[in-house]
Symmetry: C2
Subunit: 348 residues, 2 copies
DNA sequence: CCTACGGATGGACTCGTGGCCATAACGTAG
DNA sequence: CTACGTTATGGCCACGAGTCCATCCGTAGG
């Protein structure tokens, strides 16, 4: 009581308490849990009774220190309230937990300084693995490489830092953008704006970067007036849409880079009194439940979230099993175009 | 290398490596971090340089074992993809992290057997605190009380197990239901159905239990045909709504107990060709972004999610500070009725 | 009757850090 | 010059479990 250390003793039982109660040694008591067939039937029974009586549960902290490995995996996503990440999180948490590991979660708000703090915490807690949706800049790459060298398994999801040597699980963004643009062009659109950030260094987003190329493939130019740098939030999409619809030659179709940006755009269009799809067509990434509830329902490029989450976990545990010998794997999954009626021929 | 233990040595530096590199003892090296003013300037500088060079970061696992306290808090919610819980999670995670603690997350799917597994994991990992949205039945209460006796701080949110002696943070469900019913009655509705589970023991939900009482206050009976036992999901709300609208005297207004149930109901009404609010009025708990996007926008009872999350964290850290002396606190927060146009006078 | 062997059990040491106590060097008051 | 306090530093053990090695005992084979 004078040591300043929190004393569980008497509050929470350890293996020695169990051993004492059962009248055996600590080693024997432990064997009742780890390899019970090595014990005599009577001993096993006595130890089991003691475990039951004392409500003994092995201290994972001590186990982690001694064994050098935790059963904890870190997950860093962009934002917990973005439904895409919520679904991804659910898939990952369930899969990881079914493998006997726990998940510690944090979100980086797409900022690498916030991410850095999380990485230090995870590293200090000696997580066995890390799944992360990196912030846009590559400032944490050296730190990630040191964690990797230390034996921590790492998989990037949804995005990867340019130049990253890590395994990742991504959507086939280029293919999805091509398909989306083709969908809009097929309805006769030639003035198409993407709702997303065009800041090349701040947000080097594949979708936005593919967009002008996809347009060019159809002989369509991207007006400078359609190019802005915004953050991928519903709020920024709202004001971006207001701006876009007020330029000299406003777009006849909007292509939203994320599901929540589509929500912002939708609100902006309604506030402007513009009808979808009569006045403006709308196409979005992600397939959120509300997109089916609005009138008309929104065309979207659905991501196989569950599949991607499982793939990330699979790669992670492969790395944890193989260590430094694990191959670098880059997986891409295709989006699925869901047509509901928010894209129609442009008026005029 | 023959010990079978994962050897970090050489891979990750510990305080002894730092001490050796700086030419001091481990105790001195540690002081460079914990109380630097006790060191001579030159020594401090040398240790700092060694820490820098070796990328030393204290092992939280060893620290936790020795000190008897972790800087980890567990969070158990109903479902990560339910936006209410996503927002609650964000509020809690941010607040907890700002206090220097990490959050481990799990969802119980409202099932106490799933919850039990999570509790064992958290307990084994020696979390300092636990915030949970309990499953409906009280099967884990004895276990929770043992954790509490062991010194783990526990706060229930959004719901509490009947008979629970734990602190909690809840919505003023009764008041919200009264306000919602009053809102509907003021528009002339007398045939009102609640979308929620009426199973008294399986889902002893305050909102559903208050509902008949609130109706009675206005002299309105609750037809037996409106009472069903369903799970609080969009899917169940969908089929429940289909059923309700087909009874002899269908309701003229629906009162949804959760935001995602309102989504299911909305889809069902559209599939039935019923217009909101001309044919059926709709009122819902939770204020989700999509409720503003549909036509008409949905009236809702918004929960102060951020406030509730912060309150839960505050109670938790109070308990962690005061230990067994911490008072049991039961907090209630009022819902806010947001009127948008999905409630109107019933036809006929 | 002695030895060998295998099954059952116990002991000792270790993981990295936290806390306490000891020690050395140096200055100051008596 | 001694006694004592202060400052700067080092040594040691414990937290609870994992791993290796040692020991004890009974039995079967010679």
């Amino acid at each position: 009581m004078s040591s300043g250390v929190v004393r569980y003793h008497g509050l929470v039982a350890n293996i020695h308490d169990v051993a004492r109660k059962a009248g055996v040694s600590a080693t024997t008591a432990k064997r009742a849990i780890r390899d019970p067939d090595k014990l005599a039937a009577g001993t096993l029974e006595r130890v089991r009774a003691a475990i039951e009586a004392l409500h003994y549960e092995p201290d994972q902290v001590a186990s982690a220190l001694r064994s050098g490995r935790t059963t904890t995996v870190g997950l860093i996503i962009g934002s917990i309230v973005e439904p895409f990440f919520a679904e991804l999180t659910r898939a990952i948490v369930h899969d990881v937990r079914s493998r006997g590991y726990s998940v510690v979660i944090a979100d980086n708000e797409y900022r690498s300084d916030v991410e850095a703090a999380h990485l230090h915490t995870f590293n200090g807690n000696r997580v066995s693995g890390l799944i992360l949706r990196s912030a846009y800049d590559s400032g944490n790459l050296p730190y990630l490489e040191r964690m990797r060298a230390r034996g921590v398994a790492i998989v990037e999801v949804d995005y990867f830092v340019p130049g990253s040597p890590l395994s990742h699980v991504l959507l086939d963004n280029a293919g999805a953008v091509e398909a989306g643009v083709a969908h809009l062009v097929a309805h006769g659109h030639r003035r198409i704006a993407a709702l997303g950030s065009f800041h090349r260094t701040l947000n080097p987003d594949e979708r936005v970067q593919t967009f002008p190329l996809a347009l060019a493939r159809h002989g369509i130019p991207l007006p400078a007036a359609y190019v802005r740098a915004v953050s991928p939030t519903a709020w920024d999409a709202y004001s971006l849409t207001l701006d876009l619809m007020r330029v000299a030659e406003p777009p006849t179709a909007l292509f939203s880079i994320t599901g929540s940006m589509a929500g912002g755009a939708y609100r902006a269009l309604r506030h402007l009194g513009l009808r979808v799809p009569q006045d403006v067509s709308l196409l979005s990434f992600d397939d959120y439940a509300w997109m089916e509830l609005v009138t008309p329902a929104i065309d979207s490029l659905a991501q196989p979230v569950e599949t991607m989450g499982r793939a990330a976990v699979r790669l992670l545990f492969e790395q944890m099993r193989l260590g430094a010998d694990a191959p670098v794997e880059r997986l891409r999954f295709p989006a699925e175009l869901i047509v509901r009626g928010s894209v129609a021929a442009p008026s005029r």
